[in-house]
Structure formats: structure tokens, C-alpha cells
């Protein structure tokens, strides 16, 4: 046992040294790149955006929904309020995330908000290829992840992201490709817990809106299932003064969000 312990210690030390050696080969660390991405694209304090979400099974359009999303940062906590505006089967459904695992769903047919379980985060977000936790990537919120720089070439950095907490581990690993010319994460690839490539998130038509750059279209492709979700982002607004009263049950249960 003692021998094994010594061996393990040696291996760990070697691993640490190897990691340090690897890091020193690059001008920037993985975390530096991730921070730069966030600085360039996701450093806003609040955001309002309308999303048109289309899901395709093969080439068949299966659903086409519209949702208004408000989000803001309060210290380390991200809060969001989401309301479906069409079609009829989901119209009025709302989701409020107050942070600290306090989430509510509003269902118009009951006229009340219900708490939802943290385990819902691992499930599909309204039948799309995004899980609830994947939705954070849309806002470049990678605060739950640590990054390691795997490689770089003249055009891009290749990062491996891993969750800081095992509780939030829904993937074996997440790979992010960041373009060097504009620090834009051109592609994010998700490997499932079996280690198989499951999904690819690609952003298109990056546009400048005031101080921030933001894509006009995102496509999440499930390569295992020949299924994809396309999100068209309309008129994003940043750093609006979104009052805390918006991120409450009162706001959630209203037919339309006013901000």
C-alpha cells in the first residue's frame, strides 16, 4: 500500500509538472483564452433577446417556437426569465431561474408557478437539442467550467472545458474552438459521459450590437440522432437596466414580460 501510495504521488507530481510544462509552451493558458472570450462577448451585465427556436428531425421541421429571454448578473449569480410567446401549446409558459438552484416554471393552465427540480437541468430544454445547462453557452456563461488549452495554430485555440463540480457534470468533456482573429468561439463540441461525440454547437453571422458582438444564428446539431436545433436571435439588447422585480414570480406569471 505504501509502495502504491508513493507511486501514485510520483505520478501525480509528474502530471502536475507535465501540465505546467504544457502550459508554458503556449503564450496564453486555457483559462486566459476563456476569460478573453467572455470579455469580448459575454461581459454584459444584462441582456434581452427574442429567440426563434426551430427543431429539425432530419430535414423535417418538428417545432417552431418563439421565446423572450431576459438575463442579468448579480455578483456571481446569473438570473434569467424566459417566456414563450408562440405557438399555442407553449404560449405563456415561463421559466424563472433566480440562481442558487431556485427555479420556477409557470404553467398558464394552472395559473401558478411551480418549483422545478435541479435534475431538470440535465433534461432537454423544451424538446430542443439544448439541455437547460447548455443554454448558458448562448450567453458565453462558462463560469461553471475550467478550461485547459490543448492546442493552438495560426488561426485558432483548442480548449477542453470541464465542470468545476461533479454535480453539474453532464458531459465527459466539452471542446471549444476559439478564432484568434476575433476571439469568437466558432464551435463547441460536447462528448457524452460515454466519451462519444454527441453534439456540436456552431455560431453564425456574428454582428456588432453597440459594445458587444453577438451571433444572429446558432445551430446545435445532435450527431448521434440526426437532429438539430436552430436558434435565430433577434434584436439583442445589452446592459439595459433590468430591475430585480423582473426576476420574480410576479413577473413570471404575467402574460407578457414588460421591461
Amino acid at each position: 500500500m505504501r509502495k502504491f501510495g508513493t507511486l501514485l504521488g510520483t505520478l501525480l507530481l509528474a502530471a502536475v509538472l507535465a501540465a505546467a510544462g504544457t502550459a508554458s509552451c503556449f503564450a496564453m493558458s486555457g483559462q486566459d483564452v476563456l476569460d478573453r472570450v467572455k470579455e469580448e462577448y459575454g461581459d454584459f451585465q444584462s441582456q434581452v433577446v427574442t429567440m426563434q427556436i426551430k427543431t429539425y428531425d432530419g430535414e423535417t421541421l418538428v417545432s417552431d417556437r418563439e421565446v423572450v429571454v431576459l438575463s442579468r448578473k448579480v455578483g456571481d449569480v446569473n438570473q434569467s426569465l424566459l417566456k414563450f410567446t408562440s405557438p399555442r401549446d407553449v404560449e405563456g409558459v415561463g421559466l424563472l431561474d433566480q440562481g442558487d438552484d431556485i427555479m420556477y416554471m409557470y404553467l398558464p393552465e394552472f395559473g401558478k408557478a411551480r418549483r422545478i427540480a435541479g435534475s431538470a437541468k440535465s433534461g432537454s430544454f423544451m424538446g430542443t437539442d439544448f439541455t437547460y445547462s447548455d443554454m448558458s453557452f448562448i450567453s458565453y456563461d462558462t463560469s461553471d467550467y475550467e478550461a485547459q488549452l490543448l492546442s493552438e495554430n495560426d488561426e485558432a485555440y483548442e480548449l477542453e472545458l470541464s465542470t468545476k463540480s461533479d454535480k453539474d457534470k453532464f458531459y465527459e468533456k466539452v471542446m471549444m474552438t476559439v478564432a484568434k482573429n476575433n476571439w469568437f468561439p466558432t464551435q463547441i463540441v460536447f462528448y457524452n459521459l460515454d466519451g462519444r461525440l454527441e453534439k456540436e454547437l456552431t455560431a453564425y453571422d456574428v454582428t456588432k450590437y453597440g459594445d458587444y458582438k453577438y451571433p444572429q444564428r446558432l445551430v446545435m446539431k445532435n450527431v448521434l440522432a440526426d437532429h438539430r436545433t436552430e436558434i435565430i436571435l433577434e434584436k439583442p439588447e445589452f446592459d439595459r437596466n433590468l430591475d430585480e422585480s423582473l426576476f420574480t414570480i410576479r413577473s413570471l406569471q404575467r402574460t407578457r414580460i414588460r421591461y
Binding site: E91, A117, K167
Partner: protein
């Protein structure tokens, strides 16, 4: 009903044109279905074809609020009657019997009344202050609307004024209900209820007949006096109050509710010997037994709690039920009345506890233990149930396989409701459902066996 519909429509139209609302938004769903009640003599021939449309119209009232109007129309007809009705097209009365027109929701929302954190909703609306999933111990604002087994959890909108106030971190809800909305059950379910009632009456009459021993026979003839729909004139308006607050990571609430049991209940029976009729030819005597039904005024005081336990959602309700003192005739609490039907105004406790969870493989599971279903409004009726629900999506989330089950610990009755829904394409779904019930012969679900059904249908949203 149509008068009411026209009145509400007129009010909404008058309001929307006078206040200058923004453009109305129209959406809806069309459904078509075939339903086979498998326990019928000729189930295939008696297959019921149905078409329905639900239309929602909503709009904004500037920054002041919003409004919504929902209309449901449905037409159901057994297939074997479709042909004869087509040939006999002049028989509009027959067609009308199968046509239902229902004003679903019709309300006006007004936000930030007087610049305060107070919102008001006026009109017909869904109100649920419970935290249970689909069921609640605080059901006086949730009357049922059902005609088939799979519709037993469908509820009706209720008319009143809802006020939501948000002083500091507190959420106070008040719903004032000037008009009573009762359960609305179709012919199929009413027939089952009648059957259960007849069984009960049989036991009651047998017990009652024993009160007249002797050489001559006295036949007891039940004479039912239907319940008069209640009004709030005597007992004050219906009222629901709830105060809730996030404490730690749990939402805790206190509830007071006042209203009526949404189903009629036997509250008095009796006879008048002067009504004894003697048939001397047959040597037989007949005595009418008057059975009076009414709606029980009921109050509830209770607590709700919901939150998460690790990654699971959990919730609980506890209600202390106070039936109106003296509502039930003392005679009902007697040996001749079957035990379950010895209705009294004794206070009693109902409640539920539940949990849900998404498994790693995508299966959603939900379980609740419930003490007291909504129709169980007197102490002797209250039973304990286990209600479960699970679903999983397949075929790239286009196919959902779902199952619900109910089991009664007291009378061993059970019900299963499996269903599949397939998303054919955008806004178009096809679905299939089964509804099966059974259990001990005394159980409610055993009597619902006649409602065992298979259903296929299509829905198109617009």
C-alpha cells in the same frame, strides 16, 4: 350558457375597443378523435367520433394590463348515429345535444394598481393555490370538467377577482368568488356516479326497510330531491387567501379557503307516514323515502411547502377541513347507513406529499401520496391514494411515452392511463390513449370500469 357567452364577448369587445388595446393575438388548437368504450355491448359500432376547437384571443392594454378570451367548442357523436343524423338533417335538436360550447377563460389583467406592487385579474380564470401536481387539497377553486376517464383531472375556469400583492418578500394572493362554479361531468361519468349512488341507496334502503318489521311488507320508494345549485348569499362569497414566502430554499405558504363542495352530497333523508300508500289488492304498502342532496359549505385552513431536495423536486400540502356545522342531518350518522356514507360535520385533515425527478436516462418520474381526493368532502369519505406519473421521449423527442397510475390504499381501486404522443410535424400531433380501471367491487374505480377506453386522435395548433 350562450347568453353568458354573448355577454362576456360583448364586454370584452366593448372594453377592447374603448380602451384602445393593441392588436389581438389569435391562436388555437383543432382536435379530431375516435374513442372506443371497450366495455360497451358493441364497442366498435358505438365508437364516438369527436371534433373540437379551442380558440384563444389575447391582447395588451398598453402598459396597464392585458386580456384573454378563450372559447372551446366540441361535437361528439357515436358513429352509428352519424349516418342517421345526416339523413335526418332537420333534427337540429339531436345535433345540439352533442354540441358543447364553453367559455374557457375570459379575464382582464390590470398591473400595478395605484402604482403599487398589486396586480388584479378580473373574470373567468384558472385558480390553483396548491403545490400538488394536478391535484390539491385546496380544490374549492378547481371544479372538474370531465366526461371520460382521461379527463378526470381537467378543471374548469372559475369566475371572480384575483388580487396578487407583493409586499417586500411576501406574496399574498386573494381570490374572491361571487359565483359558484360546480363540477361539470358528462353523461358517461354521471352514469357511473348514478350507479355508485344506486348501490349506496340499495344498502341504505335495505337498512331502512329493516326499520319496519312485521307481517306486512313495506316497500321503500326512494324519492330523490336534486341539489339546488348553491349561491353565496347565505354563507358569504367564496374566498381563497394565500400568503407565501421563500424561506431558505423552500417556498412556504399559509392558505385559507371558503367555498362549496363542487358535487352534491346527501345531507338528509326522511319519510312522512302520512305518505304511506297501501295497495290493498296486492297487500303491499309503499313509503316514499325523501333523499335530499345539497352542496356542502366547506372551509379549509392549511399549509403548503415546495422546494428541492438535492436534485429532486418535493412538495407537500396539509389542510384542516371544516364542514359547515349542522349541514348534515343527525340521522345520517346512524347504524342503518353504510359506514362510508355516514356523513357528519366532523372536521378532518387532508393533504399530500410528492416528489419528482429526472433520471440520467431522460425518464421523468413523479409520485404523490394523497389523503383525500377532491370529491371526498366529508370525513367518512376520505381515502389515501398513491398517484404516479412517468414519461420518456424517444425518436429524437418526437415520440413521448407517458403513463399515469392511481391506487387507493383503502378500497384497492386502481386506474391506469398510458398514452403516446407523436409529433408528426410542426404544430401537428397524433396521439393514442388507454384508460383502464378496476379494483375491489366496493371501490369507485371498479364502478368506473364501464369507462375503460381506447382513444386515437390528431391535434393541429394554429
Amino acid at each position: 350558457m350562450r347568453k353568458q357567452l354573448i355577454l362576456v364577448l360583448s364586454c370584452v369587445l366593448l372594453f377592447t375597443t374603448s380602451v384602445g388595446v393593441s392588436a389581438a393575438h389569435v391562436s388555437g388548437v383543432f382536435t379530431g378523435e375516435f374513442r372506443v368504450l371497450t366495455e360497451e355491448d358493441k364497442p366498435v359500432e358505438n365508437t364516438v367520433a369527436g371534433v373540437g376547437v379551442e380558440i384563444d384571443i389575447d391582447g395588451e392594454v398598453g402598459d396597464a394590463g392585458s386580456w384573454k378570451l378563450g372559447l372551446d367548442a366540441a361535437f361528439h357523436q357515436p358513429l352509428n348515429k352519424v349516418r342517421e343524423n345526416i339523413w335526418d338533417a332537420g333534427d337540429t335538436d339531436a345535433a345540439e345535444e352533442n354540441l358543447t360550447l364553453e367559455l374557457d377563460e375570459a379575464y382582464l389583467d390590470l398591473y400595478s394598481i395605484g402604482g403599487r406592487a398589486v396586480d388584479v385579474r378580473l373574470g373567468k380564470q384558472y385558480v390553483d393555490v396548491g403545490v400538488g401536481d394536478g391535484l390539491t387539497a385546496f380544490h374549492l377553486t378547481r371544479p372538474i370538467q370531465a366526461n371520460y376517464l382521461d379527463e378526470m383531472q381537467n378543471t374548469r375556469a372559475v369566475t371572480g377577482v384575483r388580487i396578487d400583492a407583493f409586499p417586500k418578500d411576501l406574496h399574498i394572493q386573494a381570490f374572491i368568488q361571487p359565483r359558484v362554479t360546480l363540477n361539470k361531468t358528462g353523461e358517461n361519468i354521471t352514469t357511473v356516479y348514478r350507479k355508485i349512488e344506486q348501490n349506496t341507496m340499495g344498502d341504505l334502503l335495505a337498512g331502512f326497510g329493516g326499520q319496519f318489521p312485521g307481517p306486512g311488507e313495506v316497500t321503500i320508494v326512494p324519492q330523490a330531491h336534486p341539489a339546488i345549485p348553491p349561491t353565496y348569499d347565505d354563507d358569504g362569497w367564496g374566498l381563497t387567501l394565500k400568503a407565501s414566502k421563500l424561506v431558505g430554499s423552500y417556498d412556504l405558504g399559509a392558505v385559507y379557503q371558503r367555498g362549496y363542495g363542487p358535487d352534491p352530497i346527501l345531507y338528509m333523508f326522511g319519510y312522512d307516514l302520512q305518505e304511506l300508500e297501501i295497495d290493498s289488492e296486492k297487500g303491499q304498502a309503499y313509503l316514499p323515502l325523501h333523499l335530499h342532496q345539497g352542496h356542502l359549505p366547506l372551509q379549509k385552513i392549511g399549509l403548503t411547502a415546495e422546494g428541492t431536495l438535492r436534485d429532486a423536486g418535493i412538495w407537500a400540502e396539509l389542510a384542516y377541513n371544516i364542514p359547515k356545522a349542522g349541514f348534515f342531518d343527525k340521522g345520517l350518522d346512524s347504524e342503518i347507513v353504510p359506514k362510508a356514507y355516514r356523513f357528519t360535520d366532523d372536521k378532518y385533515i387532508t393533504g399530500l406529499v410528492g416528489m419528482d425527478y429526472f433520471l440520467k436516462n431522460g425518464v421523468y418520474v413523479n409520485g404523490q401520496i394523497i389523503r383525500g381526493f377532491p370529491q371526498e368532502i366529508a370525513k367518512s369519505m376520505v381515502k389515501t391514494y398513491l398517484v404516479g406519473n412517468a414519461y420518456q421521449d424517444f425518436l429524437n423527442s418526437r415520440l413521448r411515452v407517458e403513463g399515469s397510475a392511481v391506487y387507493c390504499f383503502d378500497d384497492k381501486g386502481w386506474m391506469l392511463l398510458p398514452e403516446v404522443v407523436y409529433q408528426l410535424k410542426k404544430d401537428m400531433q397524433v396521439f393514442g390513449k388507454l384508460g383502464i380501471s378496476g379494483g375491489d367491487e366496493e371501490s369507485m374505480f371498479y364502478h368506473m370500469k364501464d369507462l375503460t377506453q381506447a382513444l386515437i386522435g390528431i391535434s393541429i395548433s394554429f
